[in-house]
C-alpha cells in the first residue's frame, strides 16, 4: 500500500454545484450501470447458469427423450392434428423459464446478497434502492429474453418444432412474456425477504417453484390434473403464464382442452396484473438494505 493518492481537487468546504449529482448520477443511469454489472455476475455464477438459465433446456430434452416413443399428443381418431411431445411441452418450458429467471433467480440472489453483506455495503453508498431494482429487473429481462430466444432456436432447429407464423401470435407472446417475467421479478424481490439466511435461500425458494411447476401445467399436462388442483393453480401466476404460452404455441384446437375450453387471454392479463401489484407492494414493503435492529 504505497501511499500515493491525489489530493482532493477542491476544498472540501466548497459546496457542490447544484444538479451536479443528477447530471452525472441520475437514478436511471446508475440503474443502467447496475444492469451491466448484474448480468456479468449472473453468468459467472455456476449455480444460477445451471439451475436458472439452462434448466428449461434440460427439462425439454428430458421430456422429449422420455415420452416421444408414446407418439404425438392430441391426435384425432383419424391420426391427424397431433403435435410432438416437444411441441406440447415447449410453452410450459418457456413459462418455467420466466418463473426461474424472475422469481427463483432474484429470490435466491437477493437473499444471498443480504446474507453475505453485499446489500449492507451497497446501503452505505449513494446507490438508490431504485437504481438497484432497475439493475435487478434489467438483469432478469436481458437473461430471460436471451433464455427464451435460445429456447425457441433450440426448439426449432434441434427438436424440429414448428413455430407460429402469425404476427398476432407473436404479439401475444411478447406481452405475456414481458408481463409474466416482470411480475416474477418483483415477486422474487418480495420473496427474498422470506429466507432467514443466504444459505437457506435455495431450500426455501426451490420447493415453492417446484410445486408451482407441477400443479401449473409445466411438467404435467394441465388438463390431466384433477379439477381441485387446477383451481389451486389458478390462484398463482405460473398457471396463467403457461396458459398464455400455450395460446401462442399450441394449435387452436387445443384450446378446447383448457379448463374453460378457451385460451382466456383477458384473464391471463388480469391475473398477471394482480400478481404484478402484489409483487410491487411486497417488494416495497419488505426490501431493506439490512435487517435493522435484528
Amino acid at each position: 500500500m504505497s501511499a500515493t493518492l491525489t489530493p482532493q481537487p477542491a476544498p472540501q468546504s466548497m459546496p457542490q454545484p447544484a444538479g451536479h449529482r443528477t447530471a452525472r448520477h441520475g437514478l436511471f443511469s446508475l440503474g443502467l450501470t447496475r444492469i451491466g454489472f448484474e448480468i456479468k455476475l449472473y453468468f459467472r455464477s455456476t449455480d444460477t447458469v445451471f439451475f436458472t438459465f439452462l434448466f428449461p433446456f434440460i427439462m425439454l430434452g428430458i421430456f422429449t427423450a422420455a415420452f416421444s416413443a408414446q407418439g404425438n399428443i392430441g391426435t384425432n381418431p383419424d391420426g391427424s392434428g397431433g403435435i410432438s411431445v416437444g411441441a406440447y411441452y415447449l410453452p410450459g418450458m418457456l413459462a418455467a423459464g420466466m418463473l426461474l429467471s424472475g422469481l427463483q433467480n432474484l429470490a435466491i440472489d437477493i437473499a444471498g446478497e443480504k446474507g453475505d453483506g453485499t446489500l449492507k455495503r451497497l446501503g452505505g453508498t449513494p446507490l438508490s434502492p431504485l437504481s438497484y431494482f432497475i439493475g435487478k429487473i434489467g438483469q432478469v429481462l436481458v437473461t430471460g429474453i436471451l433464455q427464451a430466444v435460445l429456447l425457441l432456436i433450440v426448439a426449432r432447429f434441434a427438436f424440429d418444432i414448428a413455430l407460429p407464423t402469425e404476427p398476432e401470435k407473436w404479439l401475444t407472446f411478447v406481452w405475456v412474456f414481458l408481463l409474466g417475467v416482470i411480475t416474477c421479478a418483483f415477486l422474487g424481490i418480495a420473496l427474498s425477504a422470506l429466507p432467514r439466511s443466504g444459505r437457506s435461500a435455495s431450500a426455501v425458494v426451490i420447493p415453492i417453484v417446484l410445486v408451482l411447476q407441477f400443479i401449473s401445467g409445466v411438467y404435467l399436462q394441465f388438463n390431466a390434473l384433477p379439477e381441485w388442483m387446477q383451481n389451486v393453480a389458478s390462484l398463482f401466476p405460473l398457471k396463467w403464464m403457461a396458459q398464455g404460452m400455450r395460446a401462442v404455441f399450441l394449435p387452436d384446437n387445443f384450446a378446447a382442452q383448457e379448463q374453460n375450453g378457451a385460451w382466456e387471454l383477458g384473464l391471463v392479463a388480469i391475473a398477471l396484473l394482480i400478481w404484478l401489484v402484489v409483487g410491487l407492494v411486497g417488494s416495497r414493503l419488505t426490501f431493506r438494505w439490512i435487517r435493522k435492529d435484528a
Partner: protein, 298 residues
C-alpha cells in the same frame, strides 16, 4: 478550528436491544480532520455506536449529527460524503478487484481514480483476480479500497486491519496518514492498540456500553496510570513491585540496600496496552464488587 462545527457529534446516545443496553449514555465529538479511535473489548458497544453513526441502526435515545445531518434520515448526497469499511465482509465476490472498484467508483459523484486506489492498497497485481480467490488479508484490502474510492470526507474503519500481516498493516497505516494529511476525518475501531497509538489523535474507551475514558492517547487513564513500575525479586525470593515517579532513584536505593544488583530487575513504563487493560479491568472489577456488595446486603 474553534468555529468549525464537529464532523461527528454524539450526545447522550443510548441503544438497547430489548432489555439489553448495548450503548448507554455516550457523548463525544470528533473535529473535522481528526482521527478518533473507539477502543473496548468485544461486545462493549463499539460496533453498535459506529453503525448508528453510519446510518445502519436507529438509536434508542440521544442526539447524533454526522457531517451536520442525522444519519437516521440522511439521504444519498450525505452517503456520497462518507466512506465505510465494515467489520466483516463475506461477499461471494464473482467480480474481479478492478471491476468491483470501477463499479463502486461509478456510484460516487467525485471518485478517486481507480488505478490510484489499487496502488494505494497494493493490489495492482491482483486487479484481474476475482475477489473470492483472494486471501483474507487481500479481501480486507479490497474493503478498504471500496471505503475510500468515493473520496469520503469522513471515513469509518471498523477493525480495518484484521487479517493483515505486519507489513500490510504498516502500509495501511501509511495510507491512513496520507488520508489524514488530505483532511479526511476518521473514526476507527480496533483491538490493536499499537494501531490506535500510531494513527489516532484521540481515543475513547467503551466498556459495557459506557464511555469510561476519553482523551488524547497521552492522556488516557490519567497521569497515575503512567507512573513507571519497578519490579524485582527480593532476598527472600518474593516478587516485589512499586510504582514511582523516580524509578532511577528507587533502583539506586535498592542497589545501596542490597549491596549489589537486585534480582530480575525491571523498570516498566506502562504502554497504551497496559493502561487500556488497567482501565478495562478496573471497570470490570468495579462492577463485580458492586454486585458482591449487593449480594451481601440482600
Amino acid at each position: 478550528m474553534t468555529t468549525s462545527p464537529p464532523a461527528v457529534r454524539v450526545a447522550r446516545l443510548s441503544k438497547s436491544y430489548g432489555p439489553f443496553d448495548a450503548v448507554n449514555d455516550i457523548s463525544f465529538d470528533i473535529s473535522p480532520g481528526e482521527t478518533f479511535a473507539l477502543l473496548g473489548p468485544n461486545g462493549a458497544g463499539k460496533s453498535s455506536t459506529i453503525e448508528i453513526l453510519e446510518g445502519y441502526r436507529d438509536r434508542s435515545e440521544g442526539d447524533v449529527l454526522v457531517l451536520g445531518e442525522d444519519p437516521q434520515h440522511a439521504g444519498l448526497d450525505w452517503k456520497a460524503r462518507i466512506g465505510i469499511v465494515l467489520q466483516s465482509s463475506g461477499e461471494s465476490g464473482n467480480a474481479t478487484v478492478l471491476e468491483q472498484l470501477r463499479h463502486f467508483a461509478s456510484l460516487y459523484p467525485n471518485p478517486r481514480p481507480v488505478d490510484e486506489v489499487l496502488a494505494a492498497v497494493g493490489l495492482e497485481e491482483k486487479a484481474k483476480t476475482r475477489i473470492h480467490r483472494l486471501s483474507g488479508g487481500q479481501q480486507r484490502r479490497v474493503d478498504v479500497a471500496l471505503g475510500i474510492i468515493g473520496r469520503p470526507e469522513l471515513l469509518f474503519l471498523d477493525e480495518p486491519t484484521t487479517g493483515f500481516d505486519p507489513e500490510a498493516r504498516h502500509q495501511f497505516w501509511d495510507l491512513i496518514r496520507t488520508l489524514k494529511t488530505e483532511g479526511t476525518t476518521i473514526l476507527l475501531t480496533t483491538h490493536n492498540l499499537d494501531e490506535a497509538a500510531e494513527l489516532s489523535d484521540r481515543a475513547g474507551i467503551i466498556v459495557g456500553g459506557k464511555l469510561i475514558d476519553i482523551g488524547t492517547i497521552g492522556e488516557l487513564g490519567g497521569p497515575a496510570a503512567r507512573i513507571p513500575m519497578v519490579r524485582w525479586r527480593d532476598v527472600d525470593g518474593v516478587q516485589r513491585e512499586t510504582r514511582t515517579e523516580t524509578p532511577a532513584g528507587l533502583v539506586a536505593q535498592l542497589v545501596r540496600d542490597l549491596g549489589g544488583e537486585p534480582a530480575e530487575l525491571q523498570v516498566i513504563r506502562p504502554s497504551l496496552e497496559d493502561i487500556y487493560l488497567g482501565l478495562v479491568r478496573g471497570h470490570a472489577a468495579g462492577s463485580t464488587s458492586d454486585t458482591a456488595s449487593t449480594e451481601v446486603l440482600a
